[in-house]
Every structure is written in structure tokens, then in C-alpha cells.
């Protein structure tokens, strides 16, 4: 079976059952969310851009916002057979990319940290907690999630690739 590689663009969600490699490049203030139910092999990856949808505007893409993107990701995975309570999650991103200039010290360009909080809150509403995260700072990230192994790796434009999590490693999970 050929393993398909999928690039997850801004405000996109991709799900698969079985095999696949998700790459989420260009994560600045955006958050890459990797999720898997290791029993049914249903996995997904989302690239969330903003904390919350606007009450006065139609949501054009659910994955754009944390409050709509997380429910959409979980819903899509459940439709493929995932069991919500078994979903393991890793998140990365939420950097403050603009780091120089007088307005950087203020809260004007802090989408990244607001995204981290909004994604975590949205996951918590489903009783989910990221088992690993690499968030904040000022460097953009690229994450790669190999469904078969469950391994999520992260790199920045100036650093080499490092392992963030093995989402199939259920050590410490009392259900196993």
C-alpha cells in the first residue's frame, strides 16, 4: 500500500483511515493539530488560523477558527470510526512571528498565544488534552505526522527536525 503525503494548508483539515503522512508547513501564529485514534487508525490534521469565529460573519472554513475547527476535526474523525475518548493529540505553532518593532511588546500582534489558548480550551471541551505541545516563541514551525508510526516531528527554519510525540505510545494511559 502506498503511503500518501498530504500537505495541510491554512484553514484546512485532512483526515485518513490507515496510512498517510501529514505535513503542516508555515506554522507561524497558526496551530497545527495532529490527532489519532490508535485503535481504529483514524487520524487527522488541522491548521487553525484564528482563535474564534466572528459572531457577525459566516464561517467560510470551519478550520480557520479554533472554536469551529476542533469540533470539525473531531466530527470528521468520528465519522471515519474514531472513538472520541481514545483520540491522542499533539499541537505545535502559536509563535509570535513579528518580534521586532515597538508594537511587538504590546498585545497587538499576539494571535499566536491567543490561538494556543483557544485550541487548548476547545480540546478541553471534548475532555481532550494535548499529550505533547511545542508552542509559542518567535520561530515558525513545520510539523510532520506519520500516521503509521504515530510520530510527530517539528522543525523550524533554523533548526533541525526533532521528535515531538509518538501519538501511538499509550504509556501512562490507564485504558490500555
Amino acid at each position: 500500500m502506498t503511503t500518501t503525503a498530504v500537505t495541510v494548508g491554512m484553514a484546512e483539515i485532512h483526515v485518513t483511515k490507515g496510512v498517510g503522512i501529514f505535513t503542516c508547513p508555515g506554522l507561524g501564529s497558526c496551530i497545527g493539530v495532529c490527532a489519532i485514534d490508535p485503535i481504529t487508525n483514524v487520524a487527522g490534521c488541522a491548521k487553525i488560523m484564528l482563535p474564534e469565529s466572528f459572531p457577525d460573519k459566516q464561517v467560510d472554513k470551519p478550520a480557520k477558527f479554533a472554536n469551529t475547527g476542533i469540533p470539525e476535526l473531531i466530527g470528521m474523525m468520528e465519522r471515519l470510526g474514531a472513538e472520541r475518548t481514545r483520540i491522542a493529540i499533539a499541537i505545535a505553532g502559536g509563535a509570535q512571528v513579528f518580534r521586532f518593532g515597538s508594537d511587538c511588546a504590546t498585545s497587538k500582534h499576539d494571535i499566536g498565544s491567543r490561538n494556543v489558548k483557544a485550541v487548548t480550551d476547545a480540546l478541553n471541551r471534548y475532555g481532550l488534552e494535548p499529550m505533547a505541545n511545542d508552542v509559542g516563541g518567535s520561530n515558525g514551525r513545520t510539523i510532520t505526522f506519520t500516521v503509521e508510526t504515530g510520530i510527530v516531528t517539528v522543525r523550524t527554519a533554523i533548526s533541525t527536525e526533532k521528535a515531538l510525540a509518538n501519538l501511538r505510545d499509550l504509556t501512562g494511559n490507564e485504558d490500555v
Partner: protein, 209 residues
């Protein structure tokens, strides 16, 4: 007529926008040339309606390191302006204005950052000045901010900022370069949908957008 989301533009509107952008860019490159002591030029700008999330794909989703200066525009015509240079071009620009350049992104200190913010300010400010002269509108700029990262990360961060208002925009972009083609970069102007409407009415094209 080309339409996407809230932004519908006909040929008349597109050519008015491009003409205006051309004039703005001519003024901006003249200011940049004066500031750096090197002659700069620009290509004819593209103007296209886009879903904001497609911008990194259209302008550069590579992993090459860029220096990006971003500035939200407030006032009658709201929008977002950015000026992006590949790392090697930024180094040459630093040499032009400071006589020296950081060797690595980690070496960029406050001095180097403020010099580059000034370059971005001069270019973006001159562009806005020229188009506000033509269209007779007022604008106020906020403080520019600077990032050093891959092109895709910087563009994605700008798109996230812009997406707080709209899903679609008109992207006006071009490439600028010096006479010897050793320094080049990307200029991007993203008026908001309401900013675009104000711009059209200021230009006497009231039907569009």
C-alpha cells in the same frame, strides 16, 4: 467580471487599481533609491481577488529565510502592507544603509532591526502617500513590525492578521529589485473589502466591490 466572495471586480476597476498601484510604487521605489543610494525598480503590479488563505501559495510558500516588514493601515482606506526580502537581499540592503550586515538571522540586533524597519517604513509610507494623493483620502499607519523566518511563515502570519477582518481581499503585489538585480523582494498591499470600497469611491468608481 471576476468575483470571489465579497470582492467583485471588472476590468475598469482592475485597471484603475493597477494604475494607482503603479503610481504608488513609482514613488516608493524613488524613495527607496534615495534612502539607499542605489537605483531600485519595480515590476508592473498584479492585482487579483483572492481568498486570503491562498496568498502564501501564490506569493511564496518556500522555506527560504526572508525578512518581512508588516504594517496594518488604518484610516479611510484600511488594509495591510508588507515588504519581504530574501535573507541575502536583506543583507545587501543592510550594507547599503548601515555599511554592515548581520551574518545570520540570530545576529539581527535592535539596531539592524530598526534600520530595516525604517527601510520598510520609507517604502510602504511612500506608496501610501502617493495613492492617498491620487485618491484624496486620509490614512494613518501603525508602527511596522519585523519578522525573520521562512517566506511561508511570514506570509501566513500576515494572512492571519488580515483574516481577522475578511476572508477575501484584493492582493496587489509586485517584485522590486535594484539595477544590478542583486537585491530583490516582494511588495504586498491587501486593502480590506471596506478599504477597497472606499478606494473605489475615492477614485470615482462607485459601482464596484
Amino acid at each position: 467580471m471576476m468575483a470571489m466572495g465579497n470582492v467583485s471586480l471588472g476590468l475598469v476597476e482592475l485597471s484603475a487599481i493597477r494604475e494607482m498601484a503603479n503610481a504608488g510604487l513609482a514613488h516608493a521605489t524613488k524613495s527607496l533609491s534615495e534612502f539607499t543610494g542605489h537605483k531600485f525598480n519595480v515590476d508592473v503590479p498584479y492585482a487579483q481577488s483572492v481568498a486570503l488563505t491562498r496568498i502564501p501559495m501564490l506569493l511564496g510558500d518556500g522555506e527560504q529565510i526572508y525578512v518581512g516588514i508588516y504594517l496594518p493601515v488604518k484610516g479611510e482606506v484600511e488594509g495591510h502592507i508588507a515588504f519581504l526580502l530574501p535573507w541575502e537581499s536583506a543583507q545587501l540592503l543592510w550594507k547599503m544603509v548601515m555599511g554592515r550586515a548581520p551574518r545570520t538571522p540570530a545576529e539581527v540586533d535592535e539596531d539592524a532591526a530598526s534600520a530595516m524597519l525604517e527601510v520598510g517604513n520609507i517604502f510602504n509610507g511612500s506608496f501610501l502617500e502617493a495613492i492617498s494623493d491620487i485618491a484624496k483620502f486620509g490614512f494613518s499607519t501603525t508602527q511596522p513590525v519585523l519578522a525573520i523566518d521562512s517566506c511561508s511563515v511570514i506570509l501566513a502570519a500576515i494572512v492571519s492578521e488580515a483574516s481577522q477582518g475578511d476572508a477575501d481581499s484584493m492582493a496587489i503585489d509586485t517584485e522590486f529589485f535594484d539595477d544590478e538585480h542583486t537585491t530583490s523582494g516582494i511588495f504586498l498591499f491587501l486593502p480590506t473589502v471596506s478599504g477597497l470600497r472606499s478606494l473605489f469611491s475615492a477614485l470615482g468608481i462607485s459601482k464596484a466591490a
